[in-house]
């Protein structure tokens, strides 16, 4: 709803706004949906002036069509693929997180979502030397854990540089999340980053922690706020050309299969979805092995499964090769 005010555009004077309000026209959409001639007669406003105001308001608030050719040209010149640092995850995601897209990581408690977020953050800030914005809503982020991962792979000065490229925001309810995202959108992501490099990824861990408490019951505000969060995230993704990674919980559907939480309306929001689970191996109780299943993708066939180790981000190249060589995946294992 865009309310009509005087001074909105050249020609919309105080008298015109008052006259229109008397005829029950208070918003821009009311003005554009009504017949100009009738309105000019009813409000005794000049037809030409009304037509001019109408044209200017339409130009101000409309979105303009772009030719598919130009859009494609923009896309191929600006899309980048951000590697996650783990070859199994990269294989599932078709070489990494794509900028301009929203990727979702869903999993139960202890399935490793936060560790994957840490690994991706460290990879982007150290290996790729780009900035990351990390929005933490669970309190799970600890700088000492990030430092621990970095200490195994680089020297002291590089560690500090890498940490400086990670910008952290802590939000603990939906209002502060929307506030944080909207201020990022308004001020631009570049100002938020420090320590050089452009922002390549925004990680929100986790989006279900702030949204689940407001869903349910007969009220609609929860759903509306969830869709507003989705809207702002998508605007950030498109306008600033970054990759957004969000984490979510899981529930079971009527057939007993795992699916992402937050319901049907949220399920349309991410472009790609990966479900994390603990690796069921007899004997080991607290192993760091996980399986990742591709649940939604526009580039790969779904239900692809990969195994990986959560500790892979803190290992050097030689150690990684040795570890992955030992473990052969059962690609055709039953679900």
């Amino acid at each position: 709803m865009v309310v009509l005010r005087d001074g909105m555009c050249p020609g919309s004077s105080e008298e015109m706004v008052v006259a229109l309000r008397a005829a029950d026209i208070t918003t821009v959409e009311d003005l554009l949906s009504s017949d100009t001639e009738d309105l000019a007669q009813k409000c005794s406003v000049s037809y030409k002036a009304l037509l001019a105001v109408r044209r200017v308001l339409l130009a101000q608030h409309t979105a303009f069509p772009v030719s598919g050719d130009d859009l494609y040209e923009d896309l191929i010149s600006s899309t980048a693929i951000v590697s996650t640092g783990n070859s199994s995850l990269d294989k599932l995601l078709d070489s990494g997180l794509y900028t301009g897209e929203l990727t979702e990581l869903a999993g139960g408690p202890g399935s490793g979502k936060t560790q994957v977020c840490f690994g991706v953050t460290v990879n982007i800030s150290y290996q790729l030397k780009q900035s990351v914005i990390y929005i933490d809503s669970t309190g799970g982020l600890s700088a000492s854990r990030l430092l621990q991962i970095l200490q195994k792979i680089c020297k002291l000065e590089e560690q500090m540089e890498a940490l400086q490229r990670i910008q952290v925001y802590r939000v603990f309810d939906i209002f502060s999340l929307i506030d944080c995202l909207q201020s990022l959108q308004c001020t631009g992501l570049q100002r938020a980053s420090a320590g050089g490099g452009s922002v390549k990824a925004v990680i929100v861990d986790s989006v279900s922690a702030v949204i689940s408490p407001i869903l349910g019951g007969k009220q609609n505000e929860g759903m509306s706020m969830m869709m507003q969060v989705a809207g702002v995230l998508k605007t950030i993704v498109k306008d600033f050309n970054v990759a957004v990674l969000v984490t979510n919980t899981v529930t079971r559907d009527c057939n007993g299969n795992l699916k992402a939480g937050l319901g049907q309306s949220w399920s349309h929001v991410p472009r790609t979805r990966i479900i994390l689970q603990r690796f069921e191996s007899p004997g080991s109780t607290c192993s760091s092995l996980r399986t990742a299943t591709l649940a939604k993708s526009s580039r790969q066939p779904c239900l692809l499964k990969e195994e990986f180790d959560l500790q892979c981000w803190g290992r050097s190249e030689d150690q990684l090769y040795e570890v992955s060589g030992k473990r052969k995946l059962e690609k055709n294992s039953p679900y």
Binding site: A63, F64, P65, S224, S265, H268, L303
Partner: protein, 316 residues
Amino acid sequence: MRVVFLTEMTTTIAKMMENGAQLFARLDGRRSLKDIEPHIFPDGAGPVQGDVVEFHGTEGSGKTETLFHLVSHCILPVDRGGLEVEVMFVDTDYHFDMLRLVTVLERRLGEEAREEDGVAAAESEVQVRACLARLYVVHCSTSVQLLLTLHHLESTFCSRPALCLLVIDSISAFYWVDRSGGGESVAKQEANLRRCSELLERLLRDCRIVVFATTHAIMRNYRHSGQASTASLTPAAAETSSSSSWRQWSSTHASDFDRPYLSRAWQRLVTHRLLFSKGEVTQDKKQLFSAACTTTRTVGAKCSSFCVMEGGVQFL
């Protein structure tokens, strides 16, 4: 002086002729999409000028893939099996995946041109660009912006007779935000969608285009199965094909998430309804999808199933 007078006359005549052509194009010149996809639409009941096709289904049920299949069929040139018409794509939830559309186009162009191998790559790039030049994409982030954009597009449609198809993906994107913004009054909640529907009605009547719109299936249908079966036991009602009975019929064959929830003004506009659902996974790990099409002009539903390959939708 005589020469100048003649040139003035010819320019005015040229202008008049142009206007005549535009008028003709506006009245009856738009290309018909009747035979766009015989697999999905019932025989002889494909979408003609003035029809609205609703793609309804849960997440991941193949709506966007089918939409890309149909859009690519529209923008491909005639000598490659397409219709060579222009398409306006209104994207309301930043869902439009250009890279996927380009992959589908490349595959379809590549299929026809397999014999001419050498120049194929560069030529196919040029052809893809030529196809994309027939596509226009608009992004809208609120329902007010959608309404105002449709107002603006009215003049675009009237002046371009090659624009035959308007795609809105998806028209239900602002449902929750509008519902909460409208407070307690249902009329206020549905106001923007009602206005968009009235505007679309005017566009359909004046410019004779076809509209494809996707709607997310987000409302669970809690209708008891007993009620559903009594609805199907009234063949008389099904045969009269009035707008309410064909909708009842379609929901007895639907999945759980088929409750119509958008405003009545929109539901009255819809002439063809495609219900998408996910099928089972075949032995060679292919996910099957099915689409059931019901229209206001035919009785019963036409069911088709397809799977999604790298080159797009493949019907079985």
